[in-house]
Amino acid sequence: MSIEIVFLIIYFLAMAGIGFWAMKRGNADSEGFLLGGRSLGPGVTALRLQSSSMSGYMFMGAGSLGYTQGYFGMWYALGDLGGGILNLSVLGRRMRKLSQILGSITSIEYLEHRYPSKWIRLIAAPVALFCMFFYVLAQFIAGGRGLEMVSGVSFPVALAIAIGVIVLYTFMGGYLAVAYTDFVQAIIMVIGMVWILIATLIAIGGFTAGNNAIGEINPNMLTMWGADLGFEGQWGVILGALLVFSIGYMGWPHVVVSHMAMKKPSVARTAGVYSVIFNLLFIPGPYLVGMFALILLPNLANPETAIFAVADAVLPTFAVGIVMAAIMAAIMSTADALLLQAGTIASQDIYARFINKKMSDGQMVWVSRITVLALALVGYGIAAFDPPAVAAVVIFSTTVLGSAFVPSYVCAVWWKKANTVGAISSMIAGTLVSVFWQVSGLPDTTGIDPMVTGIVASTAAMIIGSLASQKSHPVPERIVRALDETAKVGPIPAKLLLGQDQLLAGQAEMAGRHE
């Protein structure tokens, strides 16, 4: 048994130990069990969210982009870094407020409340499930590749083990205090990534020497236009790269839910600061390590394994085991969160809404279980025989989701005339155009990214659909009033604005105006 495998096993045992310790500690006050993350501090809140949202892509896709395209990958990193701020400023306050006034819990429910029609859920839920499947698929592939590297077994076997462990975790994770294990994993991820980056820089003689060496291999890699300057002047592609993880990311149900989440304001504010620090430390790393891997390992058969291979080359053996284990665990927790979200969409947004309106919570669990197992089996079927690139899968699914949902989310709070017909047209147009653009190969021939065409199509459909149907499908009076309430507050001193308790948004409107 290799030393890496030994450390992998020790690591997982330690994580299980932390989980049991935290769970036992929590039992002293069982009242707190269901109070969600309320008892968790801002550090735990921020880092667990980060570790459960960016794993497979960062460790495989980002490294691969750096390895094959050099600094071009930084366009994606820039979008990713700015995405959080953009989300908060565009959607943030108004969306939280509107969701409170309309009483929405999930993102799809929010859309249906804002654009009242069963068709909203009937379209949104399958589109979200379709895209989440691809995102989960990326985690499966990343997990399989990582295990393949560490254990030396063939990819199909490693993939089967990885998927098996992920599904087991999704079923049995409740026995662990997942919040704390996610938190520890996030810290190890950051330390591991920074450690790999520093060790890489030492191995190549420093940042400047590394850039010089890359320049000797291919000077184009030092530009932001790609390895063969193929993206020079291709602003349609670059705009797409910037938009994918900034605007596109806003389409993910779990990201939108976090905007609507009910958190203690002081925790949320501090958690935001921790998230920014985490992103600054973490996001550029994989792209840089991937690029500098060209100097250390110029003949990698699969560029997606660049980070794993560099870690193996530059870290001490014991550290490789720990860091690899942390990466695997992070991939696992991301997949777990996505699978649970997919199960919730299938059970609550589809089964309970359209098939069995009197769904019991026992049935809800079964629908979720069947959904998770189906996604795992189909995922294995695709990944074992013809695994697509992780970066491509993540970018594709984020593009489709962003194109389908972002205009509906944004117009929901910023445009009073946005109505059900506009939202349905927008979701259909965004999905179809982005998928068609991608699969027909049009990005290569036109130089325009599907994110750009998808967003343009869905925005145009929203505007045209809404304006054309104002008479036949007016925005209901209840929604107009809720929007009026959402928009009324003028400039508030920043210190006070940041500390607001979103839980009070709905109560505020009624208490303040309807006396």
């Binding site: 039992n27 069982s30 009242e31 069990f33 269901l34 109070l35 969600g36 409170q100 006034i101 309309l102 009483g103 929405s104 819990i105 975790y169 999704t170 079923f171 049995m172 994770g173 409740g174 026995y175 203690k264 777990d336 649970l340 199960g343 919730t344 609550q348 019991s360 919570d361 026992g362 049935q363 809800m364 669990v365 979720s368 998770v372 009076e477 209840r478 009033r481 009324k488 507050v489 003028g490 400039p491 508030i492 001193p493 006070l496 500390g499 607001q500 308790d501 839980l503 009070l504 948004a505 709905g506 109560q507 505020a508 409107e509 009624m510 208490a511 303040g512 105006r513 309807h514 006396e515």
Partner: protein, 174 residues
Amino acid sequence: MQGRLKWLGVMNEILLKTIVDAEHAAKVLQAKAPDLEVVSASLRRHPFAGFEFHVPALAGRGETARALVDYYSGKAFISDRWESDPVLEVDDVEAVSDPSWNSISFETARQRAKALLSTAALRKARLAWKGGVKETASVEKVWKPNWILDVRIQGRNYRVIVDGLNGGYFFIES
């Protein structure tokens, strides 16, 4: 603890004890904006439907969880234990009137409370959970205290709501 609820089955109304007084509410805001001046403060009671559930956990354990559902928005929250006001009666307080454009019924509130707790339990326990959330008690109206403060900051007037239970705040208008 004085005023702690001891009840089973269905109750009609509970008046929650005000933990944060007017002075404390003002201090919460002044801690962020020292030049804030309170012009007036009044207590308003907001109506919620209250539910208590037994939620089965993994390995045979179960626990009690409570949910409040806002009658005027339909928004459901998982809540802490409720503590009733030992002195005041419902008739003594000023309640927020029904705006009538966004209100929900008690039955709808019950469904939302149960859906919220089932989802929360599933997310916590993952797919090994078997379900079986059972309502053990309900309160038709839980009156939660909120302070409405009219304040002035640097010559500009604002209206702010401050939660009478925990001191959280939200701007209503300016």
